[in-house]
């Protein structure tokens, strides 16, 4: 070890109550407490959030874009899952 850079963490911020945490970027940090400090000092300097998550980048399991076809295409033809698939007379409101 000769002063290497620290591992990478992904940062998620909840902008305000009622919203989900959203990915905003990443930071390098030696451990989870420091990752939170660094996330705070980097990504919430302008009142951007009320809550922070940090996740080690290596711990994220991502879908494979090359498999995007098999992963997401089957949802394409299931139009009956969408409300616009159903025709309802205008007179009947609020369904």
């Amino acid at each position: 070890m000769s002063g290497h850079d620290w591992p990478l963490w992904e940062v998620f911020v909840r902008a305000k109550g009622g919203l989900s945490h959203r990915h905003v970027g990443s930071v390098h940090a030696p451990d989870k407490e420091m990752a939170l400090h660094h996330a705070r000092d980097t990504y919430t300097r302008r009142l951007e959030g009320v809550s922070l998550w940090v996740v080690k980048s290596d711990d994220i399991i991502a879908s494979d874009p090359d498999q995007a076809g098999p992963t997401f295409a089957p949802a394409e033809d299931k139009i009956y899952r969408h409300p616009t698939f159903y025709e309802i007379p205008d007179e009947v409101k609020h369904i």
Binding site: G3, D5, G25, R46, D64
Partner: protein
């Protein structure tokens, strides 16, 4: 800022051909996606040349932000009042943050920040030439905010729509945060020009020294910018160097005149026909010398960055060692 191609002198060499080993169908699909203004994301297939160009451009941009902390940082401890001190510290801190966002964006392409920093310290990687000029007086801080950040914004705004998703998102954040930088610089300059004779002298002197280097920030003229065509096609770059430079001059000259500053260019004249200013020849020899690392304070800048990294090594090591100990204790 600071996204111009700095790596080479203009060469007669043509655009690097896309590696013949790559599947033409994949290349074609990729080009079609980019042409349709779709975003490319980290794990998507991309031509190697696209990946390489992006790593170079984004890391160059990141290095510029980090090295760019130094000329202004030179005046934080000497800011003339508490308000200016807080503004300047916040601004230079923002630049550090921008460097950080950009390194992270480049890391999604498979190059670690450490590798990029090493490339900077070894002189292999470049950063914007503008930061190799010294900040002599307080007016330089005003000039940097107004001119250098002004040029930066001009370069960066189009990059919010650049084709690589993580880069584009980093740029959105950067542009949002940077919006105050240029305004504070111009405001500081206004104060100087409304001040004492000494202050006016400082302001004009800063204008004289920073004007031309600011114009150089947009990079070499289009005819000498070897990769512009391909970068435009790939939506890595969205406007050419000369287009952006012209825009900058047209916007900035009236701002200078408004507060009584003289633009140090005898050839400067309004051209009714093109609806913009004509301006003098840029000293490209100086530009390339600075790119080669021969700028007035290039050695100081590099030394400061290497020192920070080397003197921080034991801190980074210590935190890693502590984490390893805790992990070992938890496992036991």
């Amino acid at each position: 800022m600071y996204t111009t191609e700095l790596d080479k002198q203009p060469e007669k060499k043509n655009v690097t051909p896309i590696d013949g080993a790559e599947d033409p169908a994949l290349v074609e699909a990729f080009e079609a996606r980019v042409a349709a203004d779709e975003f490319i994301e980290p794990k998507d297939w991309m031509p190697e040349a696209y990946r390489k160009t992006l790593v170079r451009q984004i890391s160059q941009h990141a290095h510029s932000e980090i090295v760019g902390m130094l000329p202004e940082g030179n005046w934080i401890t000497r800011a003339p009042n508490l308000r200016r001190k807080a503004i300047l510290l916040a601004k230079v801190q923002d630049e550090g943050g921008h460097g950080l966002y950009l390194y992270c964006a480049a890391e999604t392409l498979g190059t670690s920040r450490e590798e990029m920093i090493e490339a900077l310290h070894s002189g292999k990687a470049k950063y914007s030439t503008i930061f190799n000029y010294p900040t002599l007086t307080w007016a330089d801080i005003a000039a940097i905010g107004w001119l250098v950040d002004g040029a930066a914004i001009m370069n960066q705004v189009p990059l919010q729509r650049t084709s690589y998703g993580p880069y584009a998102r980093a740029m959105v954040r950067v542009c949002k945060e940077e919006s105050f930088h240029q305004r504070q610089g111009y405001e500081a300059m206004m104060h100087l020009m409304a001040g004492t004779p000494e202050q006016k002298r400082m302001a004009q002197d800063a204008m004289n020294r920073w004007w031309w280097p600011s114009l150089m920030m947009f990079g070499p003229p289009d005819e000498n910018s070897p990769n512009t065509e391909r970068s435009m096609r790939w939506r890595i770059k969205r406007e050419t160097n000369d287009e952006l430079r012209q825009k900058f001059v047209d916007i900035t000259v009236p701002q200078a005149e408004y507060i009584g500053l003289t633009v140090p260019d005898d050839a400067l004249a309004w051209n009714e026909e093109k609806g913009g200013y004509d301006f003098g020849e840029i000293d490209w020899e100086e530009f390339y010398a600075v790119v080669r690392g021969e700028g007035p304070v290039a050695k100081e800048r590099m030394k400061a960055r290497r020192d920070a990294w080397d003197k921080g090594a034991w801190v980074r090591e210590a935190a890693d060692a502590h984490e390893a100990k805790k992990r070992a204790a938890a496992a036991a």
